[in-house]
Symmetry: D2
Subunit: 260 residues, 4 copies
């Protein structure tokens, strides 16, 4: 059995502190074999930089997945091609910088495939994530039976459709992007672990990470507001997934919510 930890969108400095303060204990107590975190909001709430990625790696994160904010900090465009531990949605058009999936070795020497895809409903015009998933699973054949997908998407219907579509072909489908953890974690019929959204690791008292006054004002006035990451106490959102490393089938999925 192999145990994966998937951390929901890490937002800003507070989110990074949450990772640093929670990860060591969690990895030790839960005996985590591989740590994956969504880092699309890790740098000031918007995108990621080399420095921030290294900070997360130093804290124990081993793979960083991204999302619609992947290109917000420009330096990522050069950095991502030299850092195979940071992956971006695989369904960007061919030729996009970086890679959309990778194989990563756990402490115990097990190879785990990690995939990142973006949804399309209420989101940018990406390539079809369903066909893209098919192609990646084909590429993983014979190379890795344990595979986790971070499906970064807005609509619950698209996320559930993806999970059922891949059921029995992948170990886990973890939704990200809405920054709110859902309470629907389960193992589907053919052995795929699924949760609609892992949630957010960042400011507790906020509107999905942002200072709440700014978001409220935006909705009230319909005028542009520069968003800032909220301060205060943090929350740490993640899921722990147990996978049978021979079959790739998920055995268990457990939600985690730690509060400062």
């Amino acid at each position: 059995m192999i145990r994966l930890l998937m951390i929901g969108d890490v937002v800003g400095r507070l989110g990074r502190r949450a990772v640093k303060e929670n990860l060591p204990g969690l990895v030790r107590d839960e005996q985590i074999d591989l740590v994956i975190a969504n880092g699309e909001n890790a740098a000031g709430g918007n995108g990621i930089t080399r420095e921030v990625a290294l900070e997360l790696f130093a804290a124990g994160v081993e793979v960083i997945t991204m999302g619609n904010h992947v290109w917000n900090k420009k330096e990522i465009i050069n950095y991502i091609d030299r850092e195979n531990r940071v992956i971006r949605p695989a369904n960007y058009p061919p030729g996009a910088p970086g890679a959309g999936f990778g194989r990563f070795q756990t402490r115990k020497g097990v190879i785990v495939g990690v995939v990142n895809l973006s949804g399309r409903v209420f989101m940018p015009d990406m390539d079809c994530p369903f066909r893209c998933a098919d192609a990646i699973l084909e590429a993983f054949k014979g190379k890795s039976s344990v595979i986790l997908l971070d499906f970064h998407a807005e609509a619950t219907s698209e996320k559930a459709a993806m999970a059922y579509y891949l059921d029995g072909r992948i170990s886990a489908v973890c939704g990200t992007h809405t920054h709110v953890q859902t309470a629907d974690e389960r193992i589907l019929e053919k052995g795929t672990a699924f949760i609609t959204d892992v949630g957010m690791t960042g400011p507790q008292d906020s509107v999905i990470g942002v200072k709440k006054e700014l978001v409220i004002e935006k909705f009230l006035t319909q005028m542009p507001r520069k968003f800032e990451v909220a301060s205060g106490l943090y929350q740490f959102n993640a899921v722990v997934i147990d996978v049978d490393q021979e079959s790739g089938r998920a055995l268990n999925i457990k939600r985690i919510q730690n509060y400062e």
Copy 2:
């Protein structure tokens, strides 16, 4: 103290059966004072009819809220004006059939205000739900201190913004529409209970209530598919909210997930 039960979107016959089989026991065991259910998908997954509404009332539901599917069954247009226990989003333009809020008396004689609003992000062009909420709270002044809002919306940011906007002015903000229960129920600083989404009461093994094969095919082909409510076993999603009836402040919020 008064105890409210808010049931997440009831989908089709299976959802109605879930209500019938779960409600009596819940009301008795939890000593619920008022039962509210979102019924926008109660009739075959799409809208509501008089017959279906009466079936829910007979099962113990006391107030039915709606959402973007409110007008899907045409007969509602005439029915809703004669049935004040069914409310639709209050931020439809003035002159829309039915009402967007109402006052309802519990068994113990307490008056509870129930409000229904629709979000606008990724949704139809309604009037501003924030200003509409202000106006309704003004109208409730002196008439009811216990007030619950069913905020039927897609985006987590809009839902959280509404909850913080109304914090201390309303007893509870319960999100609906995504059909997936979130794990973020909490009492905000000034006493408003909040959950991003109460979830769905309907077919377990489905994509937000719909036969999963149809939804997957839709995403794969981008061609129209007539959606059908899934069959099989049900799930029952709700929240129980305790409110101090003098101050209107929420004391507790608890998620409920029952499975057949």
Copy 3:
């Protein structure tokens, strides 16, 4: 030189009558070599049927292109595979019924390539129309130098971007879908004829073909309204494009607006 006629979205019976009454004279007077019409709204304003397609062919249309309404009449799904004169957006996922482009012979024996693509901005989640265009132009190489694209799209930016992207590689990019003819027809620098939208062939006194009272009511009430094609007098919208058949370069583009 070869002369192409591209007719804007034919809407309902009135649109078909406009085609029947205008086409023979136009073909004769303007010496048209090939007649293409967008037929996505030809059957009652929504989709197309075999009968309606045959009616348009009988009236002189030689190629029918479609758009987002292509599948609205279900029978098209079987019909389109047997009728190579009806093409649908080529950027549907692989495996969709029908074809997205074809080669058609003019009276004079010249082979003309006709392509249909759908935009993605404010439209369904299709495959990338730009890369799809590249692949089709590649397939046409050596087989046809005269090629016309019906780019069925909403956003003016996406349409202009496509035209400039294909400039010098295709004879004409004719936008459709908005049902309003634009006044920007021109020959781009490298020889591609372009117009943002060819317009609509259907009821004059209407909101893009629909009874205006119904559309106004929909905007005012935000409630569903069953749309009906307007009646009254027709308009006929088209463009005439002259192409050098050796080089495939456009020589001229002229707008046509006939009114009953």
Copy 4:
């Protein structure tokens, strides 16, 4: 009779030069009584500043209307309250800076009402433009019979619905925002002049004003691109509308396209 000139979205320096070089001759030759220009892209393609507004006024523009880009340059927020010749969409929430309509006196002393509204289809969540129009027309009663609306909107259906909705109650409905002039200018049955889009005054060889390579790259890569206004030659797009100043009915509408 009074003659109004409405200039389509002025884009950047090139657009301003087009205004300066075309306006004096046009006003003199066509005997224009009032000059209105959409200025939402006048400052570097995005928003407007005091300096740029004064430049347009000096060139002969008398009223500047705006659109979705109104707040892009921050200084407008203070400036707009002190400059009643710049109006922004009237259907921003109450309390927004500036005004959404105004009354302006022509050289000959006639009072003309000018209104600016934003559409909602594929656009931000504004208040209902239809009901907002009703309220403004009510406010104009007895004060001005000549009234022009700049309806800044994306969807052709919303623009046509507005024009028919106001037919006979307003002198002209001029659409803006798509940056492409439409060829459907006409006088509706009850006397309202209408055009779906007046077009753009800015760089000819561009994708709606922007350097075409940048827009194409954006569509191909789905990655962020900083847009820049294109250079080269300009185009000047406008309409001339003749109105009977007693009845407020439009007598004529004529499109203008000047090219450098």
